[in-house]
Subunit: 514 residues, 2 copies
């Protein structure tokens, strides 16, 4: 990476945003890199950034960044939230989560820490973070005081500036929660469910004054221009359940965000718009279209949405359904939801599950949008599947480790059931090593009669060869195996002893199946 | 249950199907029960069954059945497949899976066993099965011989009749895979992926004759009339990957199934139509509408569909996305897919994950369809969430155990992190007992310094009280907690020391937030 060189020549400029350069007709190195990663022309990327329909969150101080484009012209992206909370915090665990984010393909990461040494956690994370890095500055501001109302707008701006100096690429700013909108939540079942939104509401009610992030929006833009921080206009009044979806409070805020987006663009600051949250399936498209209308197609960044509220423990699934539909209809960045949503702070395993669920949603969206080449990976894995090339399937899978483990476990069990004696799952390569090194693995494997290493190479569980069935159907009932036999039957000199079907003039012919 | 009495009076009838009685103007006890469960009028149920738009799979020999209705007028339903394979089988595990199916709310269960003593497994399962029970008779037929082509059509009919006698409520019959359609799969990436479809294709090519299940369709219907077996017209040519979706082979079969459905209805036999499989999101609605058109709105029963092929290990998620969209647009029965799909035979934990993913999809579909009352449970859990009534949330959750466990684990971890010493997750009630009794749990818990039982009642992890935050945000950043404080501020005599916002004539007033 040579981003240090990229930004070196810009440091004297008063405005250093990608939008500024795009509007000046300049294709920056960041735009060129995005074009390369997306298979788009650099000029298209430039024009999308100039128009505000694509954001390239890239703080000029985030030098280890490999930039990405977020917008309808680009692939649908996935954001993963990590971060400590006040009752649970630890920098080591956050670094571990960040590594998982990168490993499983999160396109952006937000550090939502609210507990522990926030600046140190952020600094450590940024150092290891090649993807756009986002924060919610009001969390740090609030963490410094007992009650949010003790903060002045100057305090808030100070935190925004210091985070910009640290190199944060995009910041959620809850400036659309206006004092006059607060009565609109009174008929809601779940009130305000955005942490930032609730904090700002409390501040306003205590002071009887307008939202300071709204009042000081120009000052915020001034900071963003100097570091190229992309403003992610927060949806502090997003609905927290299906009942509250698409209500007056949400709509009032959305229209405000649209006006703020125009002000940001006038200042050449990049913008994204945040959206809900909880929406029934039949209202998702409408929500996306309203954002496109009111916010002039600024990149839409939704949290899920979950499509039913009855699945705590599985909200990565209930929200991946909504996210996939949202991405299909034009959402550019999908903020993941983990299985722990509504229950507790996600741990590393939850981060993994959440990211993979969202990679599925984003990819399915790209396929449904008809994005050129989007289906190539699907076709490649399908080919490998038909060829029983297990290793290739694992390689092309979103989570190769888990796919390999599941396959090996089942195959191992199949063999053990056939031989009548128990055998540990056979695993290959790095996965096997990783499991053996995992804490507690000794205790677990010692309870098996046969150690994992004892699996014979003749076992079905060995993924190195091309075993032509799996434990789901077994060899006799494997349809793909049968399909191949059927194809062979169609070849000259093989199969079909009667040939009657072929002779009777039906559409089938030997050649056609070859 | 008194189904024995219900059917007693019908035993002399030549045709005993629900469709027969519905067309005769009779509201059977089964229809009345379905009406009760669905909140529909008995007359509506009768007319839907008469028209073939609703099926009530209810073999007159399945006496412990509590009947359900499958069709667009009813709630969207979930089917769970269980069953042994030839490389992995065991009746005890299948019974365990059945119990999980019932516990997590599968509406129907299919026994797809292909290995072990099939008749004994089926008999044991049926005895414990109050939900409609389905099979694929060709599996049993094929298991009896070395190669499928050794079977005569008489052999196949014999198996169908013997399974009907056992009390099977619905059977997948692959009678739409015609000899002349086989060349249509030649350009596919994954050929034929239906086990039944591939078996019939092999039979046809070996003999050069038409599909015997098609040729003998009238004989099959004759059996079904006498026991009221619902024919589930199998999609033997369903696509096995996105590339092959909605191709000529699939379409040719679908149209054939439509013609077969009309023949079944003419014989007063109930019908469902099976569908794919693998479909990109943007083609799902079209697929549902084509089924409705060609098959005259016979209940559509889809497997997923998965919306991307790149997620082995997570296909319960990739397919729940497709299933939710399919259900929304009119699919009546969603056949689950487990995380092991494409990798191996599902075990009990996979069954659980698959069912819950599909309960999410089916419920989200009911909500999106605007079904009266569908959102009640969502609203109730949202209310409980806002009230921090954790116990009520768990109770209303699709998987109360997992929700409780996740909450308690995070809360326990929060406490342990705060106190500086590790503590085992606090679990309550049956879940805790279940975990302690699980094999290997001794070894695992012995590695913890503090046994699970030692959690103090003062811990945040105790789910009995109404703790007003969770470890995700912690108390200070909990938006719902803040929302409540904000509401209180709006009450007369509390909060808002300045009252300035209220005085300035903005839309907010003390009353409006109360």
């Amino acid at each position: 990476m040579s981003r240090e060189k990229w930004v070196a020549g810009r440091l004297g400029d008063k405005v250093v945003t990608q939008m500024h350069y795009a509007r000046s007709g300049v294709v920056t190195e960041e735009m060129a890199r995005v074009a390369e990663r997306e298979g788009l022309s650099p000029e298209l990327v430039r024009s999308e950034v100039a128009r505000g329909r694509m954001a390239i969150p890239a703080n000029i101080r985030h030098l280890n960044l490999d930039p990405i484009g977020i917008g309808i012209a680009a692939r649908c992206k996935v954001n993963a939230n990590i971060g400590s909370s006040q009752v649970r915090s630890g920098p080591a665990e956050e670094i571990e989560k960040l590594k998982l984010c990168l490993r499983y393909g999160a396109d952006t990461v937000m550090d939502l820490s609210t507990g522990g040494d926030l600046i140190a956690i952020r600094s450590a994370l940024l150092e290891s973070c090649p993807v756009p890095f986002g924060t919610v500055p009001i969390y740090e501001a609030a963490a410094r005081v007992e009650n949010i109302e003790e903060l002045s707008s100057g305090d808030m701006l100070g935190v925004i500036e210091s985070q910009a100096q640290q190199g944060v690429d995009f910041m959620t700013i809850h400036c659309g929660v206006l004092l006059e909108f607060l009565p609109l939540v009174k008929n809601r079942l779940t009130g305000i469910v955005s942490r930032g939104g609730a904090l700002m509401a409390r501040w306003m009610l205590r002071h009887g004054l307008q939202n300071p992030l709204y009042a000081e929006f120009d000052s915020i833009l001034d900071i963003c221009r100097r570091y190229d921080v992309t403003v992610s206009l927060g949806d502090g009044l997003r609905p927290g359940c299906l009942h509250d979806a698409t209500d007056a409070a949400q709509m009032a805020e959305l229209k405000t965000l649209g006006r703020l987006a125009e002000r940001a663009w006038a200042a050449e600051v990049q913008v994204m718009i945040e959206g809900p949250g909880h929406i029934p399936m039949n209202k998702i498209r409408e929500n996306v279209e309203m954002e496109q209308f009111y916010c002039r197609e600024a990149p839409f960044y939704t949290l899920g949405p979950v499509v039913t509220d009855i699945a705590p423990g599985y909200d990565h699934i209930s929200s991946a359904i909504g996210a996939a539909i949202a991405g299909w209809h034009g959402v550019s960045l999908l903020c993941y939801v983990t299985p722990k949503e509504h229950l507790g702070l996600p741990g590393p395993e939850d981060v993994r599950e959440g990211i993979v669920a969202y990679k599925i949603a984003a990819h399915a969206a790209d396929v449904a949008r008809g994005r050129p080449g989007a289906r190539d990976r699907d076709d490649a894995i399908s080919r490998a599947r038909f060829e029983f090339d297990w290793e290739k399937q694992f390689e092309l899978a979103l989570d190769p480790e888990k796919a390999r483990r599941y396959w090996a476990e089942s195959s191992g069990a199949a063999v053990s059931s056939a031989s009548g004696k128990p055998s540990a799952p056979e695993e290959a390569g790095s996965e096997s090593r990783a499991r053996r090194e995992a804490p507690g693995s000794k205790e677990i494997s010692s309870t098996n009669e046969t150690p994992a290493a004892a699996g014979s190479p003749a076992q079905m569980g060995t993924p190195d060869g091309h075993e032509d069935f799996c434990s789901m159907c077994g060899p006799k009932f494997c349809p793909m195996r049968l399909s191949k036999q059927i194809r062979k039957m169609g070849e000259p000199g093989t199969g079909n002893p009667s040939g009657k079907g072929l002779a009777k003039g039906c559409a089938y012919s030997k050649k056609s199946l070859a």
